[in-house]
Structures are given as structure tokens and as C-alpha cells.
């Protein structure tokens, strides 16, 4: 297990340049990419999530940490592809049709990515058909749907219904989130789970993957 304190700190400080440089140096010294992810990046993003929960960090800190984490991932991904190492859990995420709100979804996406999952971010205002296409292409275990407006929440149900009609519903677990969303609503529309926060989403995905 490789633990790079420097990379850990760079992620916590949201320093993308440093994260990139440290990762480069650590790899040159012979570190294994997967070890860096599990030994350093996952604990770092866990800590970022904890600091957000305790109100120490806010949206900017979280997004900056996400950027730092991504700058390290950019170096690791091609190496893992050539060595055949694979991230075992794939997640498709997007904000549902009619809703342009991106930030909450981005927070969840970067927390998931930083927690060692492969994340396919479809962006905002994503039609049900695009979700269907992404599930077919990426074969994720988990699909995350986001909505910030009460008036766009019904599009979550539509998306689930369209996945059902396409015969894909049983292949994936569907999690929903966003300010107006509740656990009760998740049950009503036939989702598999709901999280109130970005770090909660990480533990939810972990639970689901462990249970699957």
C-alpha cells in the first residue's frame, strides 16, 4: 500500500498543480497506480467528505479537491488501461431532463471518482434516452440521477420508467439525489436509494456494490 502524504495534502488543499506533479514523481519512483488510488486518493476524498459534513469545507473547497484528484487521475488512467488494471465499479451520473443544475451533481461525481469508482458524467438536462444509451455502452452497476427543482423531479421517474421499458432496469441500481428529493420519493418512483449528501452517496454506492 502506497500512501503519499504529499498527494493526500495536495488533494485536501485543492492544489491541482501539486497533485499532478506529486503523482508524476511518485509514479516515476515506481508506485503502482491502483495502490495510489486505494492508499492515498480514496482516504483523501473520504477526509474531504468528512470536512464537508462537519461544515469545515464548502462547495468551492469540495470542487477544488475534486479538480486536484482529477489531475492525478489523468496520469493514472492511461497507465491502468495499458496494465489491464480496472476499476471494478462503474457509475453513470447525470442531472435529469429539464434541469440545468450541475453543481450538486458535479460534487457527487467527483466524490465518487475520488473514491475509486469509474464515473461517466452525462452532464445536465440529460434525456432518458441518453441514460439508456449510456447504460448500454458503459454497463454500469449504478446510475445516479440528480434534480434540484421540485418541478423537474418527475423526470427522475420518467427516466426510471424508460430504463425499465428498455429492459435495463434489473441490470443497474438507481440512486437519486438533489435538494428537494427525499427517501420517501425514492421509494415512490422505484429508485433503489437516496442520499442527502455527496459523501453519503459514496457510502451508498459502496453498500450497494458490496451487497450486489
Amino acid at each position: 500500500m502506497v500512501r503519499s502524504e504529499e498527494l493526500y495534502d495536495a488533494i485536501l488543499n485543492g492544489d491541482a498543480k501539486k497533485a499532478h506533479a506529486v503523482t508524476q514523481a511518485t509514479l516515476a519512483a515506481g508506485a503502482v497506480p491502483m495502490d495510489l488510488i486505494t492508499g492515498t486518493m480514496v482516504p483523501a476524498m473520504d477526509e474531504v467528505g468528512r470536512l464537508f459534513e462537519t461544515e469545515e469545507y464548502f462547495v468551492p473547497e469540495l470542487l477544488l479537491a475534486g479538480r486536484a484528484m482529477k489531475s492525478a487521475m489523468e496520469l493514472l488512467r492511461p497507465l491502468m488501461a495499458t496494465s489491464g488494471e480496472k476499476l471494478s465499479t462503474r457509475v453513470v451520473i447525470g442531472t435529469v431532463k429539464g434541469d440545468m443544475h450541475d453543481i450538486g451533481k458535479n460534487l457527487v461525481a467527483s466524490m465518487l471518482e475520488g473514491s475509486g469508482f469509474e464515473v461517466f458524467d452525462l452532464g445536465a438536462d440529460v434525456s432518458p434516452d441518453k441514460f439508456v444509451a449510456a447504460v448500454e455502452q458503459h454497463t454500469p452497476q449504478v446510475v445516479c440521477l440528480s434534480a434540484l427543482l421540485t418541478v423537474t423531479m418527475p423526470a427522475m421517474k420518467t427516466t426510471i420508467d424508460v430504463l425499465k421499458a428498455a429492459g435495463l432496469r434489473t441490470r443497474v441500481k438507481i440512486l437519486i439525489g438533489g435538494a428537494p428529493v427525499t427517501g420517501q420519493y425514492a421509494k415512490e418512483i422505484g429508485a433503489d436509494g437516496y442520499s442527502e449528501s455527496a459523501s453519503g452517496a459514496v457510502s451508498l454506492v459502496r453498500q450497494i456494490v458490496a451487497g450486489a
Partner: protein
Amino acid sequence: MSAEKVRIQLEPSGLIVEVPRGASLTPPLSLHGIEFPCGGTGLCGACRVRVLTGSLTITEQDGLLFSAEELSIGWRLACQARAEAPLVLECEQWHMDILADNSVLSGRGKNGLGIAIDLGTTTIAAQLVDLATGSVLGVETDLNAQAPIGSDVMSRIRATLAGADLATVVRAVLRPMIAKLARGREQEIVEVVLVGNTVMHHLFSALDVGPLSCAPFHSPNLGEQRFSAEELGWPLPASCRIRFVHCLGGFVGSDILAGILAVGMPTSEEMLALVDLGTNGEVAIGNRHGILCASTAAGPAFEAASIRMGMRASTGAISRVSLLHGEMRATVIGDAGPRGICGSGLVDAVAVGLETGAILASGRIANGAKLFPVDGPVALYQADIRELQLAKAAIAAGFRLLLKGRGTNADNLKRIHLAGAFGNYIQAESAIGIGLLEFPKQRIVPSGNTALHGAKMLLLAVHEPALPRIEHVSLAADPDFQDEFVNCMNFSAREYIV
């Protein structure tokens, strides 16, 4: 054994209290800040409430203190009331000062009388105007009776899509206001001009709000809407022209169009800005050569609605906070101890906290503290400061993008007009201090109810005023907005000159 409870909703705060059926309202209401100066004996009338939904029996004291007309529209004394069934009550003590417009306009050669109406999401202001002279002959203000359905436009849209008829509700609340303004001179009224945000425009006109409920928020019905007095049920002559002025975009309505006129943007050579600081913040920037406008979702922080100890600007609210010889001084509304903080106090308190270092540039309360004490029992929680960060970032980012879109920068803005009540109460120094407004103080101009002012200009104009091209920018669809929004969230991001 507990008695059966009755649910009472208090407006305009939306607060819910539960009281035992048949019990006095005095204890629960005083617990929530309603004052009973005469001790609930029914003598002073200060605890008056208006029944918006449900009913309250008229008591002997009610009969003594209220006119038949007041009783008929639901005014009662809270101290004498017993709740038998669920109620929605409007509390007079929480009544906001509804801003009308005192600007002096002159006639343009028309004759007769006209009525200008600013139909706001929360409040309504209407004025009777002599079209020959431009002078204001009467003013009426009221709360928008749609408020019990939800305080923001999105909840109104949702209720309408679920089948509620809000057009009838708002047309009905305007009827007595118009009747009062017109009293005895109905036949002289030749024109009524209404302005309001896009949702109010659609709800008043009974247009489909479906398109306003989801992206891309393009409604096919943004145009001017005309009505007859008869279809609205208003006591005005059949010949009276009644129109709701056209909207500028999905969430930028004719209230902003009227505001643009009021501040003189369409004829100005210099670059001007207009900003309405509300739950839905609207910004317009431009001059006679072209105007850009946008709406930006600031959330309810400026109204202090989402703040833990937030309250309306009424008795007991901290409305101003300043630094005197390094010590924090709070000003409380009314002759009372502090029991909450209103929007202007919140902006002040955070600005002071930043100055003293008690709040860090990241928004975090210093030294890992959970509370930032303001005065007496009133404190800001970490989450309150976060709410304000979101609100101010939405406005500041909106400004930055429109300036960029118009190919100019903050230095070229000659004046920044603040529309609406909050713009009148907020301290410019504090707004600058928290990075809400990134402009020098001397260019910031509180401009009052620019919507009503502009509506009067439209009423007096013989011809429709010539407008430059006004372009609506959809910020939500712009990826740069998300970046700029995050950039503006920290308090360190300010680049201002005081």
C-alpha cells in the same frame, strides 16, 4: 391526555403553529414573536390578524375595533380568537413596508386617469395617476393572496400545475384595491398597466405555466396580454384598456422592463445596471445601444428566510450591524430586545465578521467555532453564512457574465441601480464587503420600486417608448456561469474599490 390540535399557518413568514382546538391563540403566537401590547385584553388592536383561509368567529371586541368592511375581509384580534379549524392568518405586525414610488413624473398630453400596478410575488403596489399631469392621486398596497400557496414562484407553478386557480385568486385581491383607488371616479379611468415577473404575468393572465417549470424555460406566451374589465370582474368601464406588459424572458418579466425604463437605460449613452436582489435575482446591463438581462437563483437568504434565526424586518429584528471602535454594534427594530436577524442585518453581520477576522475568507467561522454571536441571543450558524455565500455568488456571477457578454467591465458601469425594498435597506458598504456588489460605493444607487415607476411611465406615454435591443441570457445553460458561481463563492474573491 393531549387535546386535539389545530394547525395555523402564519403569513407572511409561513410559520406553522399548532394549538389545542378551542384554545386561545395568545400563548402560541406570542411564543413566535407576535406582541400583545395591552396584554391580550382586546383593547389596543395591535395583534390584528387577517383570516386568509378558514374562519374565525367575530367577537364583541372585534366588532368594537374593526369596521364592517374590515370584518368582511377577515380582520380579527388574535388575542380574542379561538381556533376551531385549520387557519391561514396574515399577521399585521409582520406586515412589510410595501414600497410604492414617490418619483415625480409629468403628463405627456393624455387625459383621464390611469392605474399602474406592480404585481410582485409577495407584495402588490398600485397607484392612481392623473394622466394629464402625471400626479399620483392614490396608493394601495397589499400582500399577494397567492402567498399561502407558497412564497416563491416555483411553488406557485407547482400548485397551478396541480390544478390550483391562482388567476382568480390574484384578480380577486386586486379588485378591492382598484375599487378603493377608483372610488367615485371609475368612469374616468381609461387605462390600467400591470407589470410583474414572468410567472406573475402568466398566472394573472391564466396562461400555461408548464413551459416555465423546466429547462429551457421558453414560454410561447411572453407577449403583452390585454383584458376587459368585465372578464377580470373589476369595477371599471368597458372602454378601459387593461394590459399586462410583455416579459423579457423565462424569468425576466415586465417588472424588469419597467425598471429599465425607470432608470433611463434605453436612452442613456453611458452603461448602466439594474439589479433586483430577491429569491430570483435579476440583473440588466446596458445603454441605448443594447441591453442584456438575466435571472439568477439567489435563494431566500436575502429575505433571511433560510437563516436559522432569520426573520422579517419587524420588531426585534437586527437590521443593522456596524463596527464601532472595534466593537460590534447591532441595531434592533422597535423598542425590543434582539430575537432574530433580517436580510440587511445578515449582510452587515457577515461584512463585520470578515473585517474583524471572526469569519474567514472561505466563509468558515474562525477557530472552528460553530456560532458567530451577533447580539444577545442572536447568532449566525455556519450554515447561515453558507446560504449567504450561495446567494451573493449567484448575483456576483450573474453580473460578471453579463458584463463579459456586453463586452465591457465593471469600471465602465456608471451607475448600479438597486431595485426593490431590500435594495433600499441594504448597506452598500456591507454589500461590497461580502462581494455581493463588486463596484465602488458612490456608483451604487438605491432606486426604490422601479417596476411601479416604469409602469407609470408606460401609462403616461402617448406612444410605446422606443427600446434598444434587449437580449435575455440564460445563465443556467452557460457552463461559464457554473465556474464563475464557484469563483464568487469565497469572500476572498472580491476585487472592489470602496
